[in-house]
Assembly symmetry: C2
Homo-oligomer: 307 residues x 2
């Protein structure tokens, strides 16, 4: 059973990690509208963009416009992914007070994804950390492939803990552990958290689960049992077409909230309002929701009588 | 962590609970082919039909032909649902050595679904139990709505335990606890098992989860942690169209096996072969799989290189 603190903080990554993996590219104005609607539901930490080359990630083009247009709200943090100092400078110029850097727990994935070794990526982020600290900007550290690598398979929890410890020591306030493949299961999740909490306070660990194998909710529950209280998720499960083979979307925020409600945990998010936001963004993208909770509750809304 | 016995027995309900909730009705020959293929994957207990009126459940018409045509295999049990003594007689005439009866934990659901109160249904099953015992036929007891009723909402674990205790006392060797709505979450699952194991040995309890809200795998994990070692599931998540609102299919057998593999538990089923069976039956039904594991692994099979 889950004993400790009852409140969970959700990091809504739909407008970045989600949208950058959808085929259709949305105009910055639509992304601003999405983000404002998401904040209206009660979400307090929201990834809003990425300061990367639009040649590589066209879906994130105009992230500076997005960040600049977002309203200032007490308690709400708009964040952005930055690959280097140049990205950080652009993010800060757009008003960002929190950014994220992206490392991997697998050497092969690091090479293929960001074209350098894990050690080289950490060295590159040193400059980002220094500039951010001087400017009072918080930096979140992502670690990908925490439960498996598409190129080399099994990833040891100790390897994840080592990268997490480095990022934390460099000054990241929070480490998001990403099951990029979505291949993890609950026992592996517990082993992972057990290893990482040896080197990073568990209160600074976040779970970032993809639902490719349908294990995300079970893994989140296992992480909750291991005292993790921060989770990344995407409205409507943005991030992969759910009806095409190999879909690899983030776990749907709606499904996480349903789980938390069932466990009697607090989160501050209005589920019904969130389902409406999911409908909005799905219409923009011409996709169907990947959230089972949304599908079930929308069907219920449409029903005149129970059946 | 899961401490006790490491082996899980799966009850494959795809050819009955699954198919009877699919729109397209399949010829008995196709159902026989499906069942033989399923048994080839290593599944040992398989629901093969229902001896109910084909006017109410056309998908199960010809269940006697199905049961008669199935091969005799050491260690394999073909079962059928029977609503009454007449059904039991027909099942026995077709060679059934195990049948199942269907009760509910909610009065309202019992009335709407089988047109009598819970007590009346149990009384009706008394005659079934007597005849079955005399013939040496085992009877499995289903309890539906164990974590919620579509008409009255919340269902107390104590209500489920009471029906379970009655069925067990009447001679059912196994009680399958069905989350008909698929609305349960892990904490509720644990409370449910805790209540039921007070009155029925936990080794005689089975979990039967629908995946409507995407919670089935997390609930199965919670039930495993509470020592349950028998689970019902459907190949490909048969039992509801996954792409229509309000889909209410059984949890996919493939997804359960993937979970068990990740937990280091044994089950005796060949996952790759099962995915092939899923492809076969989906083609017959003109549907896509509801199994995320199947979708992910089929995508992987089609890939020449990792990406």
């Amino acid at each position: 059973m889950i004993m400790a603190d009852n409140h969970v903080r959700l990091v809504e990554v739909g407008a970045r990690d989600g949208l950058q993996n959808e085929k259709r590219t949305l105009h910055p104005q639509i992304r601003v509208q999405l983000l404002e609607m998401l904040a209206d539901t009660g979400l307090r930490t929201l990834e809003a963009g990425a300061f990367v080359s639009p040649r590589w990630v066209p879906q994130m083009a105009g992230s500076d416009d997005v960040l600049k247009a977002l309203s200032v709200r007490p308690g709400v943090t708009w964040t952005a992914l930055v690959p280097n100092v140049k990205g950080l400078e652009a993010a800060m110029a757009a008003g960002c007070r929190e950014v994220a850097v992206f490392a991997a727990a697998s050497e092969a994935f690091s090479q293929k994804n960001i074209n350098c070794s894990i050690a080289q990526s950490l060295a590159r982020y040193q400059d980002v950390m220094v500039l951010a600290r001087d400017a009072g900007v918080r930096v979140r550290g992502y670690v990908s492939c925490v439960m498996g690598c598409p190129f080399t398979g099994y990833v040891k929890p100790e390897a994840v803990a080592a990268v997490s410890a480095s990022l934390f020591a460099m000054g990241c306030h929070e480490i998001s552990l990403g099951d990029t493949l979505g291949s993890g299961t609950p026992a592996a999740t517990k082993s992972l958290i057990d290893a990482c909490r040896q080197v990073v306070p568990v209160s600074a660990l976040a779970g970032h689960f993809h639902d490719t194998y349908g294990m995300a909710i079970a893994n989140i529950h296992a992480a909750l049992e291991a005292d993790v209280r921060i989770f990344d998720s995407s409205v409507a499960g943005l991030g992969g077409c759910p009806y095409s083979p190999g879909a690899t979307g983030n776990v749907a925020t709606e499904d996480v909230i349903y789980l938390l409600n069932g466990l009697g945990m607090t989160h501050g998010v209005d589920l019904d309002a969130l389902i409406d936001v999911g409908e909005f963004i799905n219409a923009q993208l011409g996709r169907e929701t990947a959230s089972r909770v949304s599908r079930a509750l929308l069907a219920k809304r449409g029903r005149l009588q129970p059946s």
